[in-house]
Amino acid sequence: MSAVPQWVEIAVSALLLMSGGLSLVAALGLARLEDFFQRMHPPALAYTWGTWCVALASIVYFSASEGRLTLHVWAIVVLLSITMPVTTILLARAALFRQRQRGENVPPPLGNETD
């Protein structure tokens, strides 16, 4: 495994630092927002851009150091983009169901759905 050029290291570092900053912003939102339905939004920042940046940095670094295109890290991005919406929808439905059962002020069920 050979040493990578300077510009690759700078690009990888920039992508990694961007991902770290995005993750920190997402955690701040998760800790500081007031309502559960507001708090559902900030983690998406880490799930999308945070993960994309790290995967891109990994692809650039390993492609440069091995001298061939290595794309397998992108499998994590594909996996996350499939699984995250499922978790988010299930959690939102669970939160809506539980808050409705406790008699809080949330939107009523639509029509005759069995939520």
Partner: protein
């Protein structure tokens, strides 16, 4: 591995650690069960990102598989917990 890139990976892992600490605060504080599940899911994804960054730091491909497994287990766990909150049981 230059000291520049090495420093960048350590700063990034520090950012993830701070993010996980904030999410842990949300997980312990609640106030509702779905908040805790959301925070646990966030901690899972951050742990996966830490493993990926360590893979770059030590220039090893082996970390990728561990990250993939963490992502998969995080999804299964969060889905099971959300299903439990929705119905009171995981498998009907």
């Amino acid at each position: 591995m230059s000291s520049f890139l090495s420093l960048a990976t350590y700063v990034t892992i520090g950012c993830y650690a701070a993010a996980m600490a904030l999410a842990l605060w949300r997980l312990l504080r609640g106030p509702s069960a779905q908040d805790r599940v959301l925070a646990l899911d966030f901690i899972y994804v951050n742990g996966m990102l830490v493993v990926l960054v360590l893979g770059i730091r030590y220039a090893s491909m082996m970390y990728f598989e561990a990250a993939l497994l963490i992502a998969l287990f995080g999804f299964v766990g969060s889905t099971a917990l959300a299903k439990f909150l929705l119905r009171g049981e995981v498998i009907e």
